[in-house]
Subunit: 295 residues, 2 copies
DNA sequence: CTAATAGTGTCTTTAAGACATTATGAA
DNA sequence: TTCATAATGTCTTAAAGACACTATTAG
């Protein structure tokens, strides 16, 4: 098998040996993570089951830009690793969290998204069982905090004609932590026509969030809501042993609406297998404990 | 409102004015596009409807690395644009195609994926109506060619225990163009357990494809197959006026299986609105023409 | 008339939504 | 015994799968 030579008469290995990167400008590539967990609010009535809420981990910025605002955990990718490995490494370094469900979300590349320089963000969704949390271990632990997430979506406008349509949605996310509550407003305009498609996010009110992280969080919630209904992704937010009611609560906080018990169980209980154990010391009938079925 | 100062006593604007990027190594970021179209094979029997096939545009490499192999159209992102704008620009420059459906697919970042240097690929799916095609206009037109795509998937192994599961799938893609037929084999190993999740692609036989483009194409097909059933994405592959049978054929080439007519129409005809026109000169009953409903 | 597709009817099966009923344990 | 949740039954409605039947054109 003879080696191909290019127009300069070089074989591939000769070409590679002589290759040196040109002087093109390259972006920094960061990974940013939207780490979700489903946490229990404590309950006063001993008979009542605790409610769950969807929480996101944020880290307070200790330097410019966006000093004092809250940002998603993340960091820069190194040449020897994939973005996913970078996400895993940062997760471990910053928060002490390990062994976690990770899924690439989207790469954000708006040139002005970082005021310092050209930085793209390859974002990830991470899901973690709140019982396993031990954020105190990481470097940034003192600046890290879980925020409960309220997600609202409203249709601002919708126009349609023969050749396409355009619609604008306004998202409001409210993040409540121990020390403060922050709120961001983002509009999303979707245009679709025979001239192509466009989907653009504009930050109306950044609130207490740094960079374009409100947009990233919104994308993450939309993805999570979409996937929860046709995958087993929700099981990453539940402890090893759980009741079907707990699982239903996880679905409810993700979807932001109540579900009816019987059809929920019919639809999703195949994801879990029963154990011989039951909950104890509840002020009512004990509930069977289930484990994840890996299918 | 007083300005925050960081530990060096600088305000944000002072910090930004003094900021200069460090000497960290940055990757090149390319965009690569999987451009799909649904093309008609010509038919011999005047009464028979032409069959459709799913095609992908490839460009023959004119230099190292992978000289002579086929690659996805793409190029490097410039600092003044988003990855999506880069994709649009490259599409126009390389192929003359404009006004097209574009959707970000995934960012591939395996350090060794480009033998020259550190290059990440932010990949896109593009969908275009084959009647609108005019690839002859672009710079690379003489090296560009449409390949029909055959996509096969088989389960190689599946293991499961109490704490998780692991399964391996083998994908074979066969691309047939005018001049040649190329075939690539890729295995995908999915591991999911309480110790996290992993999804890894290994190129078993690169065949005539350059870089990791076989992996990108496989991801694109999987995405397309997933989205076709619950979105109106397929309508981007059909001309302005089309019959429901044509639309069904598009679904069939994407899904790689035959569908039954009546339930197909019940499920998807809401995506289209009838016109007063019908097909002419078919050797059989004329068919009503529909237009896309933008809903 | 014939070949081939267009378009619709209908039967079966499955699943979702909604709500009601019964079961059970701690205080 | 009571409160609150567990667990399941059932009625209704909607949709998917499968197939059959009728309609319509060019040649």
């Amino acid at each position: 098998m003879e080696e191909l030579r290019d127009k300069n008469g070089l074989t591939e290995s000769e070409y590679l040996a002589a290759y040196h990167p040109g002087d093109y400008e390259n972006p920094s590539v960061a990974v940013d993570m939207v780490i979700f967990t489903a946490m229990e609010k404590e309950s006063h009535n001993y008979r009542k089951l605790p409610e769950k809420e969807l929480c996101v981990l944020l880290i307070k910025r200790g330097g410019h830009p966006f000093l004092g605002k809250w940002a998603l955990p993340g960091g820069f990718v190194e040449p020897s690793e994939t973005t996913e490995q970078a996400a895993q490494r940062e997760l471990k370094e910053e928060t002490g969290i390990d062994n976690i469900y990770l899924e690439q979300l989207y790469t954000f590349s708006e040139p002005g998204r970082d005021p310092r320089t050209w930085v793209m963000s390859c974002s990830y969704i991470a899901l973690v069982d709140s019982k396993k949390l031990n954020v105190s271990a990481g470097d940034d632990a003192d600046r890290a905090e879980w925020f409960s997430l309220k997600f609202e979506e409203s249709l601002v406008s919708e126009n349609e004609d023969d050749s396409g349509f355009e619609k604008t949605i306004e998202y409001t996310i409210t993040l409540s932590g121990k020390s403060e509550t922050i709120k961001s407003v983002v509009t999303r305009t979707i245009k679709r026509s025979d001239k192509g498609s466009q989907d653009r996010y504009i930050i109306k009110d950044r609130g207490g969030l740094a960079f374009d992280h409100a947009v990233i969080i919104i994308n993450a919630v939309v993805r999570l809501r979409g996937k929860v209904e046709y995958t087993d992704i929700a099981l990453n937010l539940v402890p090893e042993y759980f009741t079907l009611t707990e699982l239903q609560q996880v679905y409810e906080v993700i979807l932001g609406k109540e579900l009816i018990k019987a059809p929920f169980r019919r639809k999703y209980s195949y994801l879990a297998e029963p154990t011989d154990d039951v909950t104890k010391d509840a002020g009512h009938r004990p509930s069977k404990l289930f484990r994840r079925k890996w299918k």
